[in-house]
Structures are given as structure tokens and as C-alpha cells.
């Protein structure tokens, strides 16, 4: 009895963290969409008269060396991070689901060949690929998403494959087969929806990973470059001037950290809940 109480109160507390994380994420998305669209300043327009201003009520995070409003630039950058994170995760998710579903459902030789190929790709550190691809394709959002998608789907494929192997042995899958339903239909209508929990958990982990990769590379100077300033680019630019204008560095840095931590909290929470309902 006492133990039950403890678990349920723990659960309630857990939900509180998740709710807070979700609210912060929604605020971040709202600001990333609205500030560049409806705000009074443009993230790229330069104005020599208001260079290097400190934080004020007119410019919340001050202005940079070209007189651009840092508040607008930070949220514009956060928007780019979100686009890259969600966009590449959607593509990775789709590739991974199809790949893993085929491997797990067909089994035997096809499974072996597909998963060995995935192992081979996964063994090579993916950041090295992403860097080379941005060099070949030129810096930009497209080449960044393409680079992230080269090896990013493998985790998803492994998870979906495992789920398929487990689910295809279940009674309802056998019943569907006896009913004469085609393999593809069983896969998409009956098996994949049952793996949805695990897919969502994995998807939520993919987003912060992609955002991190983009910020990391832009910070190194091999990702996005001006004028498409993502959070990583802003941090890179702010770093040179961090002693004189710390705000220019700290604002994008903290925005990025909060975004990543919030995604982690949500993903972990989903993982725990997925484990409980199973």
C-alpha cells in the first residue's frame, strides 16, 4: 500500500517536470516563429547608428557590431535550429521506419544483409561525413539536413526492426496472416501502429541530436554561414567578443542549452512512459 502511494506521487511529480518542459518548448517555438515574423526588427538588416548597444527595453539582448537586434537574431537562429532538427528527424524517421520494418518483417537473409550494411555505416563517426558533405555541397540548411540524414536513421531502423521481430510473432499478426491479408497491409496497418510508442520516443531523441550536430558544426565554422545565422553561428560570432559583449555570446548559448535540455527531458519522459505501458 505504502509503496503504491510512493509510486503514484512519483508519477505525479514526473508529470510536473514534463509539463514544465513542454510549456518551455512551446514558448520557444512561439518566439522562434513570431519574433522574426512580427517583430519590429529584421535579423539581417544592418543599422550603423545603433551598433553594440547594451541590453535595454528596446533591444532585449542589445545589438551586434552591425547594429542588428540580437533578440531577433537569436530567435531567428532558434527557428533555423528547429527547422533543421525537426526536418532531418522526419526524414531520418521515415527512412529508419521503412528500413527497420522491411528488415524485421522479412527476416532471414534480407534482415542479415540490411543490418550488416547499417552496422558498417554506423561504425564510422557521422560528424566526419556531415563535415565533408557540407564542404562538397556548400554550407546551407539543405546540405546540413542531407549530412545528418546519412547515418541518423540507423538507431530508428534498429528500434523498429526489434519491434517488428517481436510483433510479428504475436497472435493478432498470425490471425491477420490466416485471414489472407497481404504482407504489406499487415506491416502498415497492424504492426507499425503497435510500434508507435517506441517510434515516437526515438523521434524525440533524434531532434536534439540533429540540433546539436548543426550547432556544433556551425560553431566550428563548417556548418551554416552568414547570413543564415543559426544559434551555433551566433555563438561562434559572439565568442570572439565575449569579454567586451558577453550578452552576445550568452543569449544564443543559453537559448540553445534550454532547447536541448527541454527536448531531452521530454524524450526521457516518453521513454519512461513507454516502458510503463508496455
Amino acid at each position: 500500500m505504502r509503496k503504491e502511494n510512493r509510486i503514484s506521487s512519483k508519477k505525479r511529480k514526473g508529470y510536473r517536470d514534463e509539463k514544465a518542459a513542454l510549456i518551455i518548448l512551446l514558448i520557444w517555438i512561439f518566439l522562434a516563429v513570431c519574433v522574426p515574423l512580427f517583430g519590429p526588427y529584421s535579423p539581417t538588416e544592418q543599422n550603423a547608428e545603433i551598433r553594440n548597444q547594451p541590453m535595454s527595453l528596446i533591444h532585449f539582448f542589445g545589438t551586434d557590431e552591425f547594429g542588428r537586434d540580437n533578440f531577433t537574431r537569436v530567435w531567428y537562429g532558434a527557428g533555423i535550429s528547429l527547422v533543421i532538427g525537426v526536418g532531418s528527424s522526419l526524414i531520418n524517421g521515415m527512412i529508419g521506419i521503412l528500413y527497420g520494418a522491411v528488415a524485421g518483417y522479412r527476416g532471414k537473409r534480407i534482415d542479415m544483409i540490411l543490418m550488416r550494411a547499417a552496422d558498417v555505416i554506423a561504425a564510422i563517426p557521422s560528424i566526419l561525413y556531415v563535415i565533408l558533405i557540407t564542404l562538397v555541397m556548400g554550407p546551407g540548411i539543405k546540405s546540413m539536413i542531407f549530412g545528418i540524414c546519412i547515418a541518423g536513421w540507423i538507431d530508428m531502423a534498429r528500434v523498429v526492426r526489434g519491434e517488428m521481430i517481436r510483433l510479428k510473432e504475436t497472435d493478432f499478426a498470425a490471425a491477420a496472416k490466416i485471414d489472407g491479408i497481404s504482407g504489406i497491409r499487415i506491416l502498415f496497418r497492424h504492426l507499425l501502429p503497435n510500434a508507435l510508442g517506441m517510434i515516437v520516443v526515438n523521434f524525440l531523441f533524434l531532434i536534439p541530436q540533429a540540433i546539436f550536430t548543426e550547432a556544433f558544426l556551425s560553431f566550428l565554422g563548417v556548418g551554416l554561414s552568414a547570413p543564415t545565422a543559426s544559434l551555433g553561428t551566433l555563438i561562434q560570432e559572439g565568442r570572439d567578443r565575449m569579454i567586451l559583449y558577453p550578452c552576445e555570446l550568452l543569449a544564443p548559448l543559453i537559448t540553445l542549452c534550454v532547447l536541448l535540455v527541454v527536448f531531452h527531458i521530454l524524450a526521457m519522459a516518453m521513454e519512461r512512459r513507454g516502458g510503463q505501458t508496455d
Partner: protein
């Protein structure tokens, strides 16, 4: 077991081959010539390209590169003729390795310690604090932590030096920044695995026998809970190697990561190629090694393969 070993070694070899091939062609695809820059005439660029064999058919270049690679010859730097890529690696690698190895040791020790503490403690507050700190450490990227540490501890407080890697105090900030993420992962792994182990019958039996909790954890449960950590060392080394790109750039340490970033800025193709192949090889071999070690040591994996 032998079958698993051979299969794993074969995958490793294919990975190495793929790495070298893909990297070679990608680097050749990078637009522009490494020798093109202001003030250099077309003829000079062409002459130098001829000299380095860049005008030969691609397949010939590829074969000769692969042949040299097997002999351990990675070529000569384009921007710094006279030094070979091996020399640059030989100069830079010790710094990166010592940084990465320190970070690995720190994260294994601190991570396992925090994990044990997490599982052993019955206080909710302790679990909550370790869990939240772990969440923060897992979420905050290493380069962001590095900048914050640099700003606070070496610019503002001046406790630690801000650049180079010469003495013990030079190591503290970069190693801290680099080891944050793996420490969080290892803490979570050991914490959860220990929690599961502690609920098993043999622990109950040991408790009934009157063994102390610390003894149960350290001599029985931890041995079983630690296998996932062993398997994680491969991916962790990949993370530490690539993570050090940013850390080395923040703390101006002339290691592999900094050489790599500079070689990209300089369009030094042989150096980009050589460093990518070298770092990829190190990661692939470490992955192979820890996987095999894990398989040999972990009785459950051994048993699963014996059945087949």
C-alpha cells in the same frame, strides 16, 4: 563465439574500406582547387596540380592512394609541403589522446560512482538531484559548457589557464567540459542497471544472508550492471574524439581536432583526407575492440551465441 568474432571483424574491415573510399571521393568532389587563391595564375595552379598527380584519371589516383594507405603512407600536406600527414598526426595525436583518455577515465569513474550512489540511496532527494544533474549534463553541448567554464573560471576568476595543454591545471577545464556528456550517460546506465539488479533474487538472498549493502553492490551487482558501460566505451570514444574538435578550438589546444578544422579552412585536401581516415579508423577499431571484449566477458552474450 568464434563466428561472432569473425563476423564482427569482417564488418570492421568493410567499414574501414568504405571509410577510406567514401572519404577519398568526397574530398575529390569538393569544388575548387586547393591551390587556387588570389595572385596565383592559372598556369601555376595547373602545374602544381600536375605535380601532385591531380590530373590523372580518378580511378588511378584512388588506387595509388589506397596502395599507399596500406603501407601507412597518408601523403604530404598541400599547404605545408615538406611535412607529411603522418608527421602532423604524430604531433597532434598525443594531445588529443591524452585529453580524450583523461575525459574517458573521469567519466567512467565519476559516472559509475554517481550511478552506484543513485541506486544505493533510498532518499528521494538524492535520486532527484542526480537525475536532474544528469539531465542537464546530457542536454548541454560540450562546446557550450567549455565556453561557460572558460568565461567563469579563467576569464573572470582567473583560477585556471585559458589555452594550451601543458600542466595539470590546463587539463581541468577541457576535461570537465568534454566528460560531461559521457559521465551523464554512464551514470544513467549504471544507475538503472543497478536498480534492476538490486531487485533480483540473488541480491535478496545475499541480503537475507546478512551481507552489507555496499558489499552486495560492489562484489555482486556492479559486476553484472557494468556490461552496458563496457559496450558504451566504443561510442564514447567516438564522441570524445569528435567532441574534442570544439573543445580544442575553445581552449586553443593544437590537437587533432584543431588540425582538422584548420585543414578544412585551408582546403588542405590530403590533410582532410588523412585526418578523416585516421580518426575514423581509430573509432572503428575501438568499437570493434570493446564489442569483442564485451562479448567475451558477458556470459549472457556468450550463451546466446552458443545456442545457435
Amino acid at each position: 563465439m568464434m563466428r561472432y568474432t569473425w563476423k564482427r571483424i569482417l564488418t570492421g574491415i568493410v567499414s574501414l574500406f568504405l571509410l577510406a573510399t567514401v572519404t577519398f571521393f568526397l574530398v575529390r568532389l569538393i569544388p575548387g582547387s586547393p591551390f587556387q587563391r588570389g595572385g596565383v595564375s592559372e598556369q601555376v595552379v595547373e602545374a602544381v596540380e600536375e605535380e601532385y598527380g591531380l590530373n590523372d584519371p580518378l580511378i588511378e589516383q584512388y588506387l595509388s592512394y589506397m596502395g599507399n594507405l596500406l603501407k601507412g603512407d597518408l601523403g604530404i600536406s598541400y599547404q605545408d609541403p615538406g611535412t607529411s600527414v603522418e608527421e602532423i598526426i604524430g604531433r597532434a595525436a598525443p594531445l588529443t589522446v591524452s585529453l580524450g583518455l583523461s575525459a574517458l577515465i573521469v567519466s567512467v569513474i565519476v559516472g559509475t560512482g554517481c550511478g552506484v550512489f543513485y541506486a544505493a540511496s533510498e532518499k528521494r532527494a538524492v535520486k532527484k538531484v542526480i537525475g536532474s544533474l544528469g539531465m542537464l549534463a546530457a542536454g548541454i553541448p560540450g562546446f557550450a559548457a567549455a565556453i561557460l567554464l572558460l568565461m567563469v573560471f579563467s576569464v573572470k576568476l582567473k583560477w585556471f589557464p585559458s589555452s594550451g595543454l601543458f600542466s595539470f591545471s590546463h587539463y581541468i577545464l577541457p576535461v570537465t567540459a568534454l566528460s560531461l556528456y559521457p559521465t551523464a550517460v554512464i551514470t544513467r546506465m549504471t544507475g538503472h542497471a543497478l536498480d534492476e539488479e538490486m531487485a533480483k533474487d540473488y541480491v535478496l538472498f545475499a541480503r537475507a544472508k546478512g551481507l552489507k549493502k555496499s558489499r552486495i553492490i560492489f562484489t555482486h551487482a556492479l559486476k553484472n550492471a557494468w556490461f552496458p558501460v563496457l559496450n558504451y566505451i566504443g561510442p564514447a570514444s567516438a564522441f570524445l574524439l569528435t567532441g574534442s574538435f570544439a573543445i580544442e578550438s575553445v581552449f586553443t589546444i593544437p590537437g587533432l581536432g584543431r588540425e582538422f578544422v584548420m585543414s578544412i579552412a585551408n582546403r588542405d585536401y590530403t590533410l582532410i583526407l588523412g585526418l578523416t581516415v585516421f580518426m575514423g579508423t581509430v573509432v572503428i577499431l575501438l568499437n570493434l575492440l570493446t564489442d569483442l571484449l564485451g562479448a567475451w566477458l558477458d556470459p549472457s552474450v556468450r550463451r546466446a551465441y552458443r545456442k545457435k
